[in-house]
Amino acid sequence: MSSTYRDGSSASQPYQDPTPLPASVPKVNELGTTSAPLKSAAFFIGAHCKEFNGLCPSSDAVTQDFMLCKAENRDPAHCLKEGRRVTRCATDLITKMRENCLSQFEEHWQCLEYNNQEYQFCRKPERALNKCMFEKLGLVKTIPGSPKGVKPIHEVENPIYGRMQK
């Protein structure tokens, strides 16, 4: 049994990274939210993390900083600080969302899960969630890059495309 090749798919233990981050890197708890709630909260994370300052009062546009940093260099080690800020901001927002708008949030992401995580089939719960978020937290969903003068697609009253069958 000296050097038999063992493929990763036949591993008996789940994968564990043999080289975790060193202790010199500050530890931030990872965001344990799965994909559907994140997709539901996506635009609010964008709106909230524009003003979130984290620990440094002079920083703003947390997500924009991270994207610009990544555009410079794709190496994971280059953008650790901005990544930590994004994680903290997103964790903060999801916690606030759950405190204030839990039922609307749950309804929207469960609707997304029933519809292949596509937004166009879940406008009704989305409107309720947007209304609650605006009232409680003052956050508005805006789609960046949408043409001006035209109603954004999430505000169109009777869209022409709907579900084909349940």
Partner: protein, 85 residues
Amino acid sequence: MPVPWEALIPFGLVTAMFGAAGTLLNFSKREQNYGKGPRYHIDSWDAMMMDRDKRITGHARLQKSDTTAPVGFETSSVWYTQRAQ
């Protein structure tokens, strides 16, 4: 004249078999996906997110909306050792 109802039995059988096959397939798909339909049009982003969901909850279709990550989540990602695609 009596109606030849026996001739309609095969039609009924075929319809019932189609219905049974469709129902069984639908039921099987729903059971595999926790009561929801299967995901379709999955691109590499969706595949990555579904793999992340599996690392968090244990199954690619199970969702969790609170922010606490399971123990060992930080080191369970295979991404760093995967071949670049």
